[in-house]
């Protein structure tokens, strides 16, 4: 007998699936997430997976939120415990009053359960052994069986799931029939043997609208196709690999000549990240749009080349899907911990453009835009995604594209320009914005050729060891980065309902948690203005925002407050005014965490003198 009342919640709970990787559970879990969305209810699923191919524990945490909160919530209201290895911790994780769904084929002693939860057992293995002969099918159908059971338990519309299966396997009638049969079996078994529906319900709603369900890596790959990338050099690394896989498949689809099967793209899997970025730089130097995708260890390897591209002023686009560092760190967990490694990558005085997408929609738009920026500014541009938005399906705005949009190829001199007698000096600041003109190899028989190098040269690209030439160049590069501030995507701000001396700066995948934290704080009467930074170098608005508030929380998913460091460094800001809110255990940051930290500090601030508070 349960000692706690079973939870009663509609459209606002967390389901966690505990699985073993390599068992096909991922697609069943995603099917279930899509089914909830099919009922018009927003979901935010997240894969928690090991750095391993088969046999280790994996979880799929799915937040159902009628209000549309997409950040990670934490906690668990319904555990679908399919992995005996992690049973004890999975059972322990359930909230009091929660529900435990499990495969009851094998009897488990009472001691392995809890008194304060509702236990829902179905003999899934037994049913599958009875129904199917092929071992792989037994495994796969077990997954569909629990989807069917959940459909009944949560009082969902069977037809919605059925429709999804028919759509997913369209053209393969046999697969549709067998999957729907398994779905129905699970559904009926649950209805016959379990107290359907339970206290957690999915109720029809219209919270999804015209949004799409996509992941950042796919969106980056697509954005690169729309942005006109033709050359890719890459080396596999989690969690960035699927960016390139997506690019490959979209190129096949959109860039193949129907007459002869030839492709308007060239992709080479390099021998390492040094070669990958080398190819990108070579192709960009030669006038094509090129990019690579990588993660922390790859960024480390590419350092020398970033310096070359910066100093020789060659465009390059790098999608960095960040994961937990340092070293191999937490390869399958999320972090925002490569900001400094990218912003100031390579030796000497360097500085690079960073873009911070918040979701797949921005992964698409910012990746496409990165190519314009890289060519306009003739420098590397980093799209700073992360594992959380990169590898999870996220509900987001549909992608859009303006067909009148042209690519901005930047300051490139054509043969006609050269013939018209224009003075060409590769590193000459003709327009005063720090951006010089370049020519593409092969342009003109006798004019416009130059020798690119990472060594100091004069404004006409001639080798030079003169301090004055070096300083001219460095000052021009600095001007170029002032120009960049106005070209990169502007920050997005949101005002609290009342004037306040507190602000909060955040970026990238922290977005949904911050939005929810904002609502929580407002409810508690804690008012904080928000600014989402979307790029580095920082737009003037960022410094204005800080100037307008006594204290600014800088919310980040790393241990050393990297964005805060950069703001202090770039804006000469008094560090005391920037308060760290840091989450870095590898799980995505939650609204509860942010709101908790902020209220603590605000409360403390109201009673303690400022100086002591800041020192804490």
């Amino acid at each position: 007998m349960s000692t706690v009342q079973p939870l009663q919640k509609s459209n606002d709970f967390v389901i966690k699936f505990a699985n073993i990787n390599g068992t096909g559970s991922a697609s069943a879990n995603e099917l279930f997430a899509r089914a909830v969305m099919g009922m018009g209810v927003p979901v935010a699923p997240r894969n928690i997976f090991p750095s391993n191919i088969q046999g280790l524990p994996t979880w799929y945490e799915m937040r159902v939120s009628g209000e549309g909160w997409l950040g990670r919530k934490g906690g668990c209201d319904l555990m679908v415990a399919m992995n005996p290895q992690t049973w004890d911790r999975d059972v322990a994780e359930l909230s009091p009053g929660g529900y435990l769904f499990y495969d009851s084929t094998k009897m488990l002693p009472r001691s392995r359960f809890r008194d304060d939860i509702t236990v829902l057992g179905l003999p899934l293995t037994e049913i599958c052994t009875r129904e199917y002969t092929d071992p792989r099918q037994r495994q796969l159908m077990k997954n569909i069986l629990y989807v069917g059971a959940l459909t009944a338990l949560l009082d969902m519309d069977f037809a919605v799931v059925e429709g999804l299966i028919s759509h997913q396997f369209r053209g393969k009638e046999k697969l549709i029939a067998s999957n729907i049969q398994a779905l129905k079996l699970g559904y009926d078994e649950a209805r016959a043997h379990l107290p359907c529906p339970i206290g957690l319900r999915v109720e029809r709603s219209d919270g999804v609208g015209n949004r799409i369900f996509s992941n950042g890596n796919d969106a980056c790959g697509l954005g690169a196709v729309y942005g006109g990338a033709t050359v890719v050099g890459w080396y596999p690394i989690t969690p960035s690999t699927s960016v390139i896989e997506a690019f490959i498949s979209y190129c096949r689809k959109f860039r193949t000549d129907p007459d002869n099967g030839m492709g308007r793209y060239a992709i080479v899997q390099a021998e390492d990240e040094l070669a990958a970025i080398g190819m990108v730089i070579g192709a960009s130097w030669n006038g094509a749009r090129a990019f690579t995708a990588t993660s922390g260890p790859g960024i480390s390897l590419m350092q020398e080349f970033f310096g070359l591209a910066y100093f020789a002023e060659v465009p390059a686009v790098v999608v960095n899907v960040q994961r937990g560092g340092p070293s191999t760190g937490m390869p399958t967990r999320t972090q925002q911990s490569d900001l400094i490694a990218c912003a100031y990558a390579s030796h000497g005085d360097t500085k690079h453009i960073l873009l911070f997408p918040e979701d797949p929609y921005e992964c698409f738009t910012l990746t496409a835009q990165a190519f314009d920026l890289a060519e306009r500014l003739q420098t590397p541009v980093f799209v700073m995604s992360d594992l959380d938005i990169g590898m999870n399906e996220v509900l987001c705005k549909p992608f859009d594209w303006d067909d009148s949009r042209q690519y901005d190829r930047g300051k490139v001199m054509s043969a006609a320009d050269l013939d018209s007698g224009k003075n060409f000096g590769r590193y000459l600041d003709v327009d005063g914005d720090g951006i010089p003109y370049r020519t593409i190899p092969g342009t003109h028989p006798t004019k416009g050729a130059f020798f690119s190098r990472g060594t100091t040269r004069n404004a006409y690209a001639k080798y030079s060891e003169a301090g004055t030439d070096y300083v001219y160049n460095m000052e021009r590069l600095r001007r170029k980065f002032v120009t960049a501030r106005k070209l990169v995507p502007a920050p997005v701000s949101q005002k609290a309902s009342q004037p306040t001396r507190y602000g909060a700066i955040y970026y990238g995948s922290t977005s949904p948690a911050m939005a929810e934290a904002f609502a929580m704080l407002e409810k508690q009467g804690v008012h904080v203005d928000l600014m989402r930074v979307r790029a580095f170098p920082f737009a003037d608005e960022v410094m204005d925002f800080i100037a307008d508030h006594d204290y600014v929380f800088v919310v980040e998913q790393n241990e050393s407050a990297q964005l805060r460091t950069m703001i202090i460094n770039e804006g000469d800001i008094d560090p005391k005014r920037l308060i760290r809110v840091l989450h870095y255990d590898g799980t995505p940051i939650t609204a509860g965490f942010i709101a908790g930290r902020i209220t603590d500090i605000v409360k403390q601030n109201n009673v303690t003198p400022l100086r002591q508070q800041v020192a804490s």
Partner: protein, 353 residues
């Protein structure tokens, strides 16, 4: 009138090629290398080869790594774009450039340190990918620019200027290129332009990865007794296996050869490699035979030079990738961007799953 930046006085009888260019039009900045450095002779050979082949300078892209050797692209083909990249990484930059525009001639210039020491990985992978390029290694057995340390091509037992003996086994880039699938593999000596110029010409008219390992003595750090890369040592041990003439489709064949002396290899573009044998019979179309021959001769202390291997039917990276004929860097938004309608269809599929 001339567009060339360098003002020059030309005698009216200065020879011109079919494009109307003189050899001066293929030169570059004044070399800053040590007087007598083998690398300068290689630059001069590149100039001569391009002049002879009527190459439009702006259709050549010259790329290099870091080192004295890698500086040389500044000293020839002043009307070509050049890229002095990072130490040992020229092959990847060249590969990317070649991916972007299949229509230019890619000339990679490197040193033995650049290619066999720090850059051996990139060297190997560019060869095995079949990048369409001419790759010249200016091989002096030492790091010239950092003042004479041994490189990975230094022979075991050879002595540095200070008398230090090298105990590490040498890497033979020719053997490596053969094994990795290069389709034009030659070795030459900077002191023998007569041999070197035709080898460069043949490579420039070749489709696929072409390697020329040119022994190029460093007069400052590796030209002493005890070095196996000095002028004297190389002259003494040089075993040329053949002499090459490159005949272009437009050329009339004037030289006459006794039957059996000549091998003719027709390349994909119609150019003909006429190989005159020297000494015993050597078959440059036999990759495995070439590898054995190199090993045997190396064991005897000989330096085999000449066109060691050629496969005129070989393919190159773009064929493997099946890229369109138009250089990728010339495609615009119309050819590359799928547009809003396709995106809307995609959105629809992402709503449904």
């Amino acid at each position: 009138m001339t567009y060339l930046a360098k003002p020059k006085l030309l005698r009216p009888d200065t020879p011109k090629n079919a494009l109307g260019y003189t050899k001066r039009d293929y030169e570059g900045a004044i070399s800053t290398l040590c007087a007598g450095c083998g690398h300068d002779s290689i630059s001069a050979s590149v100039v001569q080869a391009c002049f002879d082949l009527d190459i439009e300078p702006h259709r050549v892209a010259k790329l290099s790594g870091i080192g004295c050797s890698s500086k040389t692209p500044d000293y020839f083909l002043g009307n070509s774009h050049g890229f002095n990249t990072t130490h040992g990484r020229m092959p990847s930059v060249l590969t990317g450039a070649a991916m972007a525009n299949r229509d230019l001639l890619y000339l990679g210039v490197s040193g033995d340190g650049d290619s066999a020491s720090i850059g051996i990985g990139q060297f190997a992978h560019a060869m095995r990918r079949g990048v369409n390029m001419v790759y010249i290694v200016e091989n002096n057995g030492v790091y010239g620019l950092t003042k004479g340390q041994f490189s990975a091509t230094a022979d075991k037992g050879s002595k540095s200027k200070r008398g230090v003996v090298n105990n590490d086994s040498p890497i033979d880039l020719v053997a490596l290129a053969l094994q990795l699938g290069a389709t034009y593999v030659a070795r030459s000596f900077s002191g023998d332009k007569e041999q070197l110029i035709p080898l460069i010409k043949g490579a420039m008219r070749h489709r696929g990865p072409a390697l020329i390992d040119v022994i190029s003595p460093c007069v400052t750090f590796n030209n002493h007794a005890g070095s196996t890369k000095s002028y004297d040592y190389v002259r003494e041990h040089n075993e040329a296996i053949n002499r090459l003439d490159v005949i272009l489709p437009k050329d009339k064949i004037t030289a006459t050869y006794a039957p059996g002396e000549l091998r003719r290899v027709v390349q994909h573009d119609g150019s003909v490699l006429c190989l005159r044998k020297l000494g015993e019979d050597y078959d440059p179309s036999d990759r495995v035979g070439a590898m054995n021959y190199l090993q045997e001769r190396h064991a005897l202390g000989e330096i085999v030079t000449g066109l060691i291997y050629v496969d005129s039917t070989g393919e190159e990276l773009h064929r493997y990738l099946n890229t369109v004929e138009t250089p990728l860097n010339q495609l615009g938004v119309a050819e590359l961007c799928p547009g809003s309608e396709a995106l809307e269809a995609l959105n629809e599929s992402l709503r449904r799953g």
